[in-house]
């Protein structure tokens, strides 16, 4: 009984931190650019494909099973390339919608997500089929008589570390200060010689790279990845960010934990819960927004005349 409870708690925290990695990106991009980057989930899930391709190329050239170093390199490669891709997409598409009505940007990025998914499907070898993703960290640890997969621990640890780093960067460094300045007032920031364009680039890189880490862990957790997994990941990440309050980083984390909590709870307790999990998750989203229209930690917008 306790073992099961611990197991479920662990699942909750693992899933929550994976969602948080994606949700934080949604919130960060909204806070700085005032835009909903709906394809953020699709960008994030490019990373597992990039990592798989990298590992295969490396192991093909070396022969035999890939070494630990190769895997680590492939993961790093995937994270950095995904981050750069985020910047490229910003310049190609999203930049044009920065000053357009909010719905334009939303529809455009939904279409961008479709394009990204289809590109994986057509360009990646056998892109329509699911691809097995090896557990990045095999093995397990025994704590107080309960076996805990090392993967979950690493996932939680890395998530906490990356989000912590993001917080440190935003709160304690000059760059963070610049990002905040641009998010508060673009023109005033320009007056004190901060280049908004550069800040947007950096924000896109950070958000996409963190999303990529989330995407990698998501694929590793599921053990499998397919081109259209990003629909659910994107929707849940976006929901977590909105439930927490768009633009609020702690909100995104709370939202992710809340959604992951309900997700695990439903799967563990409700009969046939796996097929109804999205119903419960999105009913929760509606309920939260009915009672807290600006999300849990979002600031209510008071319109002044």
């Amino acid at each position: 009984m306790t073992e099961q409870l611990v197991q479920q708690l662990l699942n909750w925290i693992t899933l929550g931190s994976i969602y948080a990695l994606v949700a934080v990106g949604f919130s960060l991009l909204f806070g700085v650019l005032n835009i909903i980057h709906f394809s953020h989930g699709d960008v994030s899930l490019l990373a597992p494909f990039l990592a798989l391709a990298a590992v295969q190329t490396v192991s093909a050239s070396l022969g035999g099973s890939p070494a630990v170093a190769a895997i680590v390199l492939a993961v790093l490669f995937a994270v950095i390339v995904t981050g750069l891709l985020g910047v490229v997409l910003y310049y190609l598409v999203i930049k044009r919608f920065q000053n357009a009505p909010a719905m334009m940007a939303l529809v455009a990025t939904v279409a961008l997500g479709i394009v990204l998914r289809e590109l994986i499907r057509h360009l990646y070898p056998q892109g329509s089929n699911p691809h097995a993703v090896p557990r990045l960290v095999p093995g397990s640890i025994e704590v107080l008589g309960v076996t805990i997969p090392a993967f979950n621990l690493v996932a939680i640890l890395v998530s906490v570390l990356s989000v912590g780093l993001l917080f440190y960067m935003l709160e304690r460094t000059r760059l963070g200060l610049h990002i905040k300045a641009v998010s508060q007032d673009r023109d005033a920031a320009r007056l004190i010689s901060i280049s908004p364009a550069r800040i947007f680039q950096i924000t896109f890189f950070i958000a996409s790279a963190i999303g990529a880490i989330g995407g990698l862990f998501f694929a590793g957790y599921a053990g499998i990845v397919r081109f259209d997994f990003s629909v659910d990941v994107g929707l849940i990440g976006f929901s977590a960010a909105v439930v927490g309050g768009l633009g609020s980083m702690p909100g995104a984390i709370i939202g992710s934990l809340l959604i992951a909590g309900l997700d695990t709870l439903v799967q563990a307790t409700v009969p046939n819960g796996a097929s109804y999990r999205l119903v419960f998750v999105f009913l929760l989203v509606i309920c939260v927004l009915v009672f807290r229209p600006a999300g849990l930690l979002g600031r209510t917008i008071v319109e002044k005349v």
Partner: protein, 391 residues
């Protein structure tokens, strides 16, 4: 003397107006026919190029556009009658191509859905990613009525619309408090919940959906049998073509009446500035909920016709992507412009179908087109018009 001169001028002006209207309508119909019957993708691309050139020309020559518009408003009755005649005669010009008729039916249903969404997105600027869900609720409600209780199509049609409307009202309630991106998420969430429930519940048939929905009957004529008019036999799809054309007609009338009523004005006021509208005594909550209700009502109608036309529905016909497609039709066609929205719906329904040559890459192509369109012409094919009063 001078009186007779002005009189002849007037008649000659009326004659030019009549010929402009006739030329425009017949030309558009001929274009649509060629586009529907084109098999070769090069012809399709050529026709699309021609369409683009005409649009650019109209944009460059505002006087021509104003002339055409003036002719239409001067000869409104003639334009309507000729339009109805063309719609009625159109199936006879399609060389009995069932595929062309099928495309037209689907395009008309999407036109109704896009007009429904236009009340919200276009008139009041309320995001709604759940039109596809309302469409699905209408289709499932009518199909369940027909399959379980043998309810006829003509009864199921209003019943399904009422069911969809109730759901639309429920969805509208959160809109009293949330807005913009938050409201967009509420509607997305609603759409996902509906889709997941349809996919998992027992009585909706799960992922397999509902099969064997009977074809409607009217005065003993089954809609599944060919339509014979004056000795001309049309494929059975023609029945549904006329049915959906009638629904489009009703929707256009509905849209026009609403647009010119206090409700349409109130929606526009909400779009311009919600706070200012509230200060003018407009009950913002009520009008927002009303927009959701109207959207769901029309979508329910379209869903019923779809269910009875295809005879088989599954949750995959009503995904989030369908809602996004409808949204794109409204934006690409031109928000708050009835003609634009219909053109957008026709274009975006037929484009992927006509590009079968690239069948594998259709969805990719669709996504790229949408992004390119939003970048190049964000105001839509036919941009929003200012309201005109007097004359």
């Amino acid at each position: 003397m001078s009186v007779s001169v002005t009189a002849t001028r007037r008649t000659s002006g009326a004659a030019t107006a009549l010929s402009i209207v006739a030329l425009t309508e017949i030309g558009s119909a001929a274009f649509l026919r060629q586009f529907l019957l084109a098999e070769d993708w090069r012809v399709v691309v050529g026709l699309l190029g021609f369409f683009a050139i005409v649009l650019v020309a109209l944009q460059r020559l505002p006087t021509v556009e104003a002339r055409i518009e003036g002719a239409f408003s001067a000869q409104g009755r003639f334009a309507t009658l000729l339009g109805i005649a063309i719609v009625l005669l159109f199936p006879f010009l399609l060389e009995k191509s069932t595929y062309a008729l099928h495309l037209l039916i689907i395009a008309q249903l999407y036109a109704v859905l896009a007009l429904a969404l236009n009340f919200q997105l276009g008139s009041a600027n309320i995001p709604n990613f759940a039109t596809g869900a309302s469409y699905g609720i209408g289709a499932y409600a009518s199909a369940l009525l027909a399959l379980n209780w043998d309810v006829s199509f003509w009864l199921a049609l209003p019943a399904a619309a009422v069911v969809a409307t109730i759901f639309g009202f429920v969805l509208g309630v959160p809109s009293m408090r949330t807005r913009d991106s938050y409201l967009a998420l509420v509607t997305i969430a609603f759409g996902v919940v509906v889709h997941q429930l349809l996919n998992n519940l027992e009585f909706t048939g799960g992922p397999n959906g509902l099969v064997g929905i009977p074809a409607p009957e009217l005065f003993g004529h089954s809609f599944a049998s060919p339509l014979v008019i004056f000795g001309h036999s049309l494929p059975s799809q023609a029945n549904f073509y006329y049915l959906s054309a009638a629904l489009v007609g009703v929707s256009i009338l509905f849209a026009a009446r609403l647009h010119h009523s206090r409700i349409g004005l109130a929606w526009n006021a909400l779009r311009a500035d919600e706070l200012a509208a509230r200060c003018q005594g407009i009950n913002a909550t009520w009008y927002k909920v009303l927009a959701f209700v109207v959207d769901a009502f029309l979508a329910g109608f379209a869903g019923t016709i779809y269910a009875f036309y295809v005879g088989f529905i599954s949750p995959d016909n009503f995904t989030f992507l369908v809602s996004v497609t409808i949204m794109t039709m409204v934006i690409a066609g031109g928000m708050d412009n009835t003609l634009g929205v219909i053109v957008g719906a026709f274009l975006l329904t037929m484009l992927p179908e006509k590009l079968r040559a690239f069948s594998d890459y259709r969805i990719l192509f669709f996504g790229v087109t949408v992004i390119a369109f939003l970048m190049i012409r964000p105001q839509g094919i036919f941009p929003q018009r200012l309201r005109r009063y007097g004359g």
